[in-house]
Symmetry: C2
Subunit: 703 residues, 2 copies
């Protein structure tokens, strides 16, 4: 698969299946191309010599094209793509439907399409796509009713209808695009490829998308992290809610990854996630057209107090803050504003403000270096001309090179000024909370751009030993492992309490004797999951009672399930919970994003309060540390209420080591370390963490 530059800027496009038949897709595509495309168009159709005034060839091999759009019926579409590949056409847009989305025959057709693309190293968009557009070359290779206006947004969508709706709206509003791609079934090219491409595309200022699923989460994270160094990405990923996920799966057959995985995966990727169409375009237009702010502090300049308060609430709801003005600024405001006004932020220049007072106030506010951005907020008054205010706003944005949002409130009175603002890339909103939301997106992208992604640490571990332990599941009918897999933790350098699994009472006593203090004894059997319920756990057993306890545990297990596979009894050092905090580290493997690490405090904190945090593995040190910081109970790790802080560094390292384990062994489908007890660091700088119990599920096929 080559670069996608030519896909969006081909010199010669062949339309395979072009026709002049009214109402046909072939006609629509050809007509759309004829409208503005600067290159050459070659209809391909053995039935015609000429289509819509263009001379037509019988076969793609005669077209000498660098891109082909395929609109023939599904039965012959594969032939068309293969012929294009044969003819050396590198870029193919398959508009034809009747592939994976129909299941059955269509699905196998889609598989073949992928094979053909591999064979000829083709860039294939679709199938089941509305087509693609690129406004730089005037290319509209879609069968939709509208062409896009030129602009800096590149837009991909898993819904073709949504593109149609967006373009109709955008053309009306004067909102423009660089490229538009209807992803269709994503048989070959998917969101990751386009993020990769647009990230390097000078003319793309912001990447936006509507996605119902991401094909390869980890690849997407890597591509997006790279792209967002220069180019913001804003996505609606639908299927956020349970109901939505179900609807998405019946719409595109997307195998639903968990929302949890998408949420953290997209965040780790540096993507801004919009929850609605409105949020998507509010953020995208701001990102496409405005400079980035130096800080998060907003100045609000308003001729109306009430809306000023509402806007301040919107700032309070966002990650932005109200700017504190310098003394110089306050002095200037005092000089220029009437006494009834407010020189503090929000700056109230009062209802009788004319254009001069408004311009002065905005100029003063934007000149203050404590101000990162501004909201121009106005209600209609008899003494203020909105068009003049719009022009002043545009000029001052240019002068100060700081982002400015507009909220000229009203209806018809606003229209002319809104056009002036929109032409300068300043969308006008009736609702101040939308304007503030859009500014917030700028600040959020600023944070993303300044992120430094550290590489996951590779610890020195005993991978072979771990492999041996995991392989045990192959030797038995069960894919679940319990305490008998504690050795995995040793192999990966994670501290565990002293202990062994013993199958003889005398040995048990010996082991207990070698451990300081009383011990914990547990039945070890893959067939007995809830050991506590049958009295299969004994706590605080003194050395002299170990043999009796052993016999008793075995009897209980046998009584409970005579044919249970009994691996023995675990004799384990007692971990003092009084000075420690119980934590849980877990992992679930997500179909799209792979291993998803979980961290939280044990017991009610996870079970009732659901105070947990997630990251897609491999997890770098900074990410593991964030996990210990962002749970609500984080203060309990750091010594709340007079307790000594626990060994947070030890927890952070444990999360990373476990992340390495699940990255090394894709066969581990899920696990829980519960509890991972965290205590203060010991007197000899001993690690303060101990993994007391483990449970995991393995896919023996992947070993």
């Amino acid at each position: 698969m080559g670069t996608l530059t030519e896909l969006f800027a081909p010199d010669r496009i062949a339309v395979i299946g072009a026709t002049a038949r009214e109402g046909s897709i072939g006609r629509a595509v050809t007509t759309n191309l004829i409208a503005d495309y600067e290159g050459e168009i070659v209809p391909v159709n053995p039935k015609y010599d000429e289509v819509l005034g263009l001379s037509c060839v019988a076969d793609i091999s005669e077209a000498d094209a660098d891109m082909a759009v395929v609109v023939v019926p599904p039965q012959i579409a594969l032939h068309a793509v293969e012929a294009a590949g044969e003819a050396g056409v590198q870029n193919v847009v398959v508009i034809t439907a009747g592939f994976g989305e129909t299941g059955g025959e269509g699905a196998s057709r889609e598989k073949q399409l992928r094979e053909i693309a591999d064979k000829y190293d083709l860039n294939v968009v679709g199938p089941n796509s509305l087509g693609i557009m690129s406004t730089t070359g005037g290319m509209n290779a879609t069968f939709g009713p509208d062409n896009a206006l030129p602009g800096g947004m590149s837009f991909m969508s898993q819904s073709g209808a949504f593109i149609t709706a967006v373009l109709d709206w955008a053309n009306d509003e004067g909102v423009g695009f660089k490229d538009v791609v209807s992803l269709g079934n994503k048989a070959v090219l998917d969101e990751t490829d386009f993020v990769d491409h647009w990230g390097d595309d000078e003319e793309t200022d912001v990447v936006i998308g509507y996605l119902e699923g991401i094909s390869d989460g980890r690849a997407f994270i890597d591509a997006a992290r790279k792209a967002t160094q220069d180019t913001p990405i804003v996505l609606v990923k639908s299927g956020r809610t349970d109901a939505g996920a179900q609807a998405a799966s019946s719409h595109t057959g997307t195998l639903a990854g968990s929302e949890q995985a998408y949420e953290v995966g997209l965040d780790q990727a540096g993507v801004l996630r919009a929850e609605s169409v409105q949020e998507l375009f509010d953020a995208a237009q701001m990102l496409a057209n405005q400079p980035l702010p130096e800080n998060k502090d907003v100045a609000i300049v308003t001729n109306a107090g009430g809306p000023g308060v509402m806007s301040t609430d919107a700032v309070g709801d966002s990650d932005l803050s109200m700017a504190s003005f310098s003394q110089e600024t306050l002095d200037e405001f005092s000089e220029k504003l009437p006494v009834e006004g407010n020189i503090y932020n929000p700056v109230d220049i009062v209802g009788d403000a004319d254009i001069d007072r408004f311009t002065d106030a905005l100029d003063i506010a934007l000149a203050d270096e404590n101000v990162g951005m501004a909201l121009v907020l106005s209600c209609p008054t008899a003494v203020l001309n909105y068009e003049e205010l719009a022009e002043a706003t545009v000029e001052l944005r240019e002068k100060h090179q700081k982002p400015v949002a507009a909220c000229f409130m009203g209806g018809e009175r606003v229209n002319a000024s809104a056009s002036i603002l929109q032409d300068a890339g300043i969308p006008n909103y009736f609702d101040p909370s939308r304007a503030i939301g859009a500014l917030d997106a700028l600040a959020e992208y600023n944070d993303i751009q300044s992120r430094e992604y550290d590489e996951p640490t590779r610890f020195d571990v005993d991978k072979e030993k771990a492999h041996k332990i995991l392989s045990r599941v192959k030797e038995r009918g069960d894919n679940r492992l319990g305490v008998e897999a504690m050795g995995l933790l040793d192999a990966y350098g994670i501290p565990t309490p002293q202990g062994e699994i013993i199958d003889d009472p005398e040995d048990a006593r010996e082991v207990a004797a070698s451990i300081d203090g009383p011990v914990v004894m547990k039945i070890v059997s893959p067939d007995i999951l809830h050991k506590s319920d049958i009295g299969g756990v004994k706590v605080g057993v003194e050395d002299e009672d170990v043999e009796d306890a052993f016999e008793d545990l075995i009897t209980r297990a046998r009584n409970y399930q005579p044919d249970a596979n009994l691996l023995g009894v675990q004799v384990q050092e007692m971990v003092d919970l009084d000075t420690g905090v119980e934590t849980i580290v877990g992992m679930n493997r997500d179909p799209q994003f792979g291993p998803l690490m979980m961290f939280g405090l044990g017991g009610i904190f996870v079970e009732i309060l659901e105070d947990t945090t997630f990251r897609v593995a491999p997890v770098a040190e900074s990410e593991a540390r964030e996990m210990t910081e962002e749970i609500k109970t984080a203060p309990m790790l750091r010594g709340a209420r007079g307790q000594e802080p626990v060994d947070v560094d030890g927890v952070v390292e444990t999360i990373q080591r476990l992340s390495q384990l699940v990255t090394d062994f894709p066969a581990i489908m899920e696990f829980d370390i519960n509890p991972l007890v965290a205590t203060p660091v010991g007197p000899d700088e001993d690690s303060g963490v101990k993994a007391v119990d483990i449970r995991l599920t393995v896919d023996p096929e992947s070993l």
Copy 2:
């Protein structure tokens, strides 16, 4: 203060200060009245015989008016109002500014205005108001640039500029109003009066408002509960955030009640609270124009899969659910829809759907009794005419009498159809989440309407004993009480551990002996707040050690602060925390809403996790029970993780009794019962709650 009916439907309006001078407020008001007002207008101004073609009188006494609008300068405005009262005019709108909002002289002027209103029993709007409107009589008694279109929304606003902006927008969109009130400084009439009035007004379908503060929270709750039996109320209360509250206070000088109090107070009042202008009007238009749904289940009918998924997410985000269709409905869909479609919800009728298929599908969906409401969702296609779809949508809404929201996506293609929809009270949105949000408001109001507000229980208590205990603060320089006020709890029937405050070691031993098991001993002194920090609390003291412990505690207190006011030592039964849960019940008195009760689990749950819940007192039993149910840790009261459930009924009763205490004694400014230990109900049906410690602050002036 009489009824407000005449305020909105006067027969004869006097404009005190009417003039024809260009640019004057007097001219603007008179002109606005002349435009459409059906009654008579009498300019009052000694300088003229005629104003704008109307014959002018010199004095209000000659006007024979039932309403007066005052626009004269502040210095003579009070005279004008007094003269109006004298002349028997009951309703006065004071547009004149220069009252409370300017402080100083203005504030005393406002006080006088209130006195005059009292004296003549006047309905006074303002001062510092834009004026009022009522579209039924064509009355526009404001100086704003726009008149309102007729409609079912009655609108009050603490910002006049916001009214101007809203009307400009509303006129452009075709959105209408019944009454509009610019509240101004609310010297006499405030939000509660208008809620009261509009709640009984047949022509008002929904009350909406922009408020920065509520003058009397409890009165507002009572009025709103009554009004919302028939009429929904949707409010933006700004100053929600810390930044916003600060801005609100500098704007209208509103003494900020806590956001916590507003949040629960407005909820208890049955008010729908909008967080933005957009939310306000999205909800209000739906409530004003659509029938209420029978249930919360939405059917989505769409010609585009992607937007269908987005809409489903919006349903997932709301309190609504996706309707499950009956078998009959599914059968009908199967018959009418193509196989590529989806007969399950969201119903995908596919991109080639024409008006007939769309109409059929929507008709079938709305006929299903599992469906409470519908979203009509459409992307532009070549085979569908949006105007026809708009007409079908309106007809089917009428036919089925179920609420319908519209999301016809697009720009110019949508305009004509949007007007058809708007005329029928179905606003069209580009963004499905707004349409779903508006439907959600209907369902939420449904819930409010079916609320039953039970009266707070009046328990039989010893109010006199409580009064005596509280009065002690008067006898000393401090307004804080600690364990020495435990008697308050006895007086109000709240169980406390056995114990006494003792000032002699031998008596202490005697008391300890009368208590089963070891005791807790604590220093009692208003001057030593953090007793634990100086070792002033001893736990598990055996009888024989009581005398030594007593001496030791006294010594510690003396060493810590030689002149501390030492009330003695509390000897208290030890409460077993092992089988119980520590809870906290607290109260803060809010300047607007009065006593705000708080409940939560003690320790880290309040301090770190902030898992608390609030209600404005007096709290009825159902409200107290909700408090125990809505904290996240509620399962811990009800027996999580194998524990026995604690005495929740006892907790509920304690909250109510404490609510009665703070309602009976406005002098109690704040208190904490921490902990209120809740254990399982005892073997003899003993109460499972015990209030172990108390701290309160009293305002001696209010006793």
